[in-house]
Symmetry: none
Subunit: 470 residues, 2 copies
């Protein structure tokens, strides 16, 4: 089946892999919600215990210098001498499981069904992270060593915008020094195409509250004479785009260039069935006019309301004029955009459009991350492409992702090194929705690919990496 | 103190009045909650026993023809020959007392404090109904007769939306035949102004759901390429009004006339501190341009979103593109509007503005009630105004209410007769909240006014009433 004894060993322990991943999924590590604090701690101790067991050392919990936030797990194996050093990244926090009633099986119970494994975090990022860890475990078990030096950084705040990641990199710069980052996060684009991610969008966002009166009012006593916070919020949200889908915020696109002809041609060459994709999600094309589907997704920034609420939302009817409305907004960014500047532009727009007598406040800031693209000639990208070709038999297509891996831009900016995304989840696995799943086939493929990439990097020269850092 | 011997007798028995009202309050007649069934029955037997005692006959319990729902109490005194017949209305059910811990005295123990009587139902509608009954009791005791024929209809479902009222009117049309309705329900506007309600707005409403995809989507994968249900709902809601606050639904105002110069002058003459009212609720004036505060509240229909929700609304941030958005809408109506036609017009507007690919459905219908206005020259209105002027020394100001009293429009439509609201509660008496109270001064004022109005109607000609029914 495979000529590589490490791969063979990794694949042979399918039962052990599944048991460990299930135990990991059973820890409800929802970082966004303080009521899941025990699940976060459970996920940390699970990782620490497994890493110690397989031979990693130097285990530590890293936080920003003020000690705030969810700690990241650090561990290392540095016995590969002059071979390159990789900072292997993953995250143990998961999205909230809501709405719970749409799950077909319990979100925190890994449940196999139809060649898929269901559970919150199984695809993002517990499954892919366990693939990386268990591939290294197989190396250590079979050969007693890894082909490269590895520093592990397993974050606990990825799903909440990685607010502590940058402070952690700054506070522990020496501990985390490496030649490149190999990320176990960052989903594969499609199940039917061998591809590699070479760039991702950034993100910023916040929550706003609009207040139009001191208390909820009865529409029999005040209907027609005072503002309704929900109507005002609806108008504010509507003002953000024009009818065609263009974002109307002044300054939002500052510095953003159109894709070049070469980029457009590269994107156009990718086999892609837009209508099949839309059909599969029961939706239709929408968004900024003048750009193709993949151009909008990869090369253009967005502005989305992720949550909006106010007034009476229970059963039946209540004749209330709500005095408060809330909205959560996020913006997806492209490489040239500064997250803070974009956030400021959107807030400025909202304040300028806020009606008289209404009070707008920012009630939460989700944190920000810049967009990123890996250099096309980076040695880790070459190793990744080679490993994927070895394992799948197909040369991977270079693609981007519309999502955000804050890590990529932060490590480039703070540590000066590049990142290759090498996750074995797939982007259609509902990882921010009910019934998140991981294709079972990704486990063996991922284990083999991680073994292959580590072997390839072990044969590369550190000099090529150092050149990229210049 | 008073020249009228009946009024004198009614006022002389203050102790008896208070004892009876307290016994009535002590029956916890919460119609919405089956666990209060004994209180409902207790309230009914209390009324039946008192009505028999004072000389009413024909006592019956009325239900819809299928026998469902809380029965209404019927009783009559028909010894006034050719004098007009009034259908006197009240209701014996009360709002739930929750939240109990906010009450300063037990809700079902009538408790005097600071010239107010506290207790659940004391203002809505047990106190005002007892005022009507005891005024009639005084007539029967002192003069052995009433000046008018009276049919009493004391409902048990007013606080739960009067679902059986229309079926009861239909099933007992002959028994309830009268020249007009005199209602002991329908609060006075303000404590500092002698006023009479001459109309109320109607209501209709529904809940809508907008769906833009088969499931929630991740903004990293679909941000910028598919519609967002919340943006589309925001645009839909915004489309309902223009920037200035005008309702933009085609057909919404069909037949609605502007207030006449006379109506405007009448409203303008009412002493009213708009800025004090706005200040007390921490809000500002808003709504349809070209109309004053009270014109908008009394003479203009409204369209309010009472609840709006979708996407992630928990703590933190979630980068979801919501596939569903929900909104609850209600419309307050003015007399010429047909609730069904208004509802259809709003739905037609929403469907017409629904973007391609989005699916709009009506997920709940709140039921409807038409608006009502008593004819300005109605003899019962004249009697009411005269009675109030006699008792208070001030000519009552004609006011309307922005809320809805389904009774008024239903009796007009089903029995063809008009209603005058002659309650002695006041709109600020917290009757749907903890610590409901009735101003003690309302009792004597109400007794005297009910004696006065019955005398006046007794001197009126039935012919004038019959003319109004034509």
């Amino acid at each position: 089946m495979t000529a590589d004894p490490v791969t063979a060993a990794a694949l042979a322990d399918a039962e052990g892999f599944m048991a460990r991943l299930s135990a990991f999924i059973a820890q409800p590590s929802v970082g966004a919600d303080p009521s899941y604090a025990a699940g976060m701690e459970g996920a940390r101790t699970f990782l620490e215990s497994r890493l110690a067991e397989i031979g990693f050392t130097g285990l530590r919990r890293l936080t920003a210098s003020d000690g705030s936030g969810q700690p990241a797990i650090y561990a290392e194996w540095l016995g590969a001498g002059q071979a390159p050093t990789l900072l292997v990244y993953g995250h143990y926090d998961v999205q909230p499981p809501d709405p719970l009633d749409l799950w077909h099986s319990a979100p925190f119970e890994a449940t196999p069904r139809d060649a898929r494994l269901y559970g919150r975090g199984v695809s993002d990022d517990k499954g892919p992270m366990m693939i990386a860890i268990e591939a290294m475990a197989a190396f250590l078990a079979v050969e007693g060593r890894l082909p490269v030096n590895v520093r592990l950084l397993l974050e606990g705040e990825e799903e909440t915008g990685s607010p502590s990641l940058e402070p952690i990199l700054v506070a522990h710069r020496d501990l985390l020094s490496a030649d490149a980052v190999l990320s176990a996060d960052g989903a594969r684009w499609r199940a039917d195409l061998v591809s590699i991610n070479v760039g991702n969008r950034g993100i910023c966002g916040f929550e706003i509250t609009l207040r139009t009166a001191a208390k909820d009012l009865h529409s029999g006593r005040y209907g027609g004479v005072v503002p309704n916070a929900l109507h005002e919020m609806a108008a504010l949200v509507s003002s953000l785009r024009d009818g065609a889908g263009r974002i109307m915020v002044e300054g939002f696109f500052d510095g953003v260039a159109d894709p070049t002809e070469a980029e457009r041609a590269e994107i156009a060459a990718i086999p892609f069935g837009e209508y099949e994709v839309l059909d599969s999600i029961g939706s239709v094309a929408a968004g900024e006019p003048g750009y193709g589907f993949l151009e909008r997704l990869w090369m253009r920034p967005t502005l989305d309301v992720n949550g909006l609420w106010g007034g009476y939302t229970g059963p039946g009817s209540k004749t209330v004029i709500p005095n408060m409305a809330h909205a959560k907004l996020t913006m997806r960014l492209v490489p040239v955009q500064d997250p803070q500047a974009v956030q400021d532009a959107v807030l400025h727009h909202l304040r300028r459009h806020c009606p008289p007598g209404a009070e707008l406040s920012v009630t939460e800031d989700r944190g920000a991350a810049g967009a990123y693209a890996v250099p096309g000639d980076h040695p880790l990208l070459a190793a990744a492409e080679g490993a994927l070709e070895t394992v799948t038999g197909a040369r991977p297509v270079r693609v981007r992702i519309g999502a955000t891996l804050p890590l990529t831009e932060i490590v480039k900016r703070k540590l000066g090194i590049d990142t290759v995304m090498f996750s074995f989840s797939t982007a259609d696995e509902d990882y921010h929705a009910p019934n998140e799943f991981l294709r079972m086939s990704a486990i063996d493929e991922g284990l083999a690919a991680w073994v292959a990439i580590l072997r390839r990097v072990g044969r590369q020269s550190r000099t090529d990496y150092v050149r990229c850092r210049a």
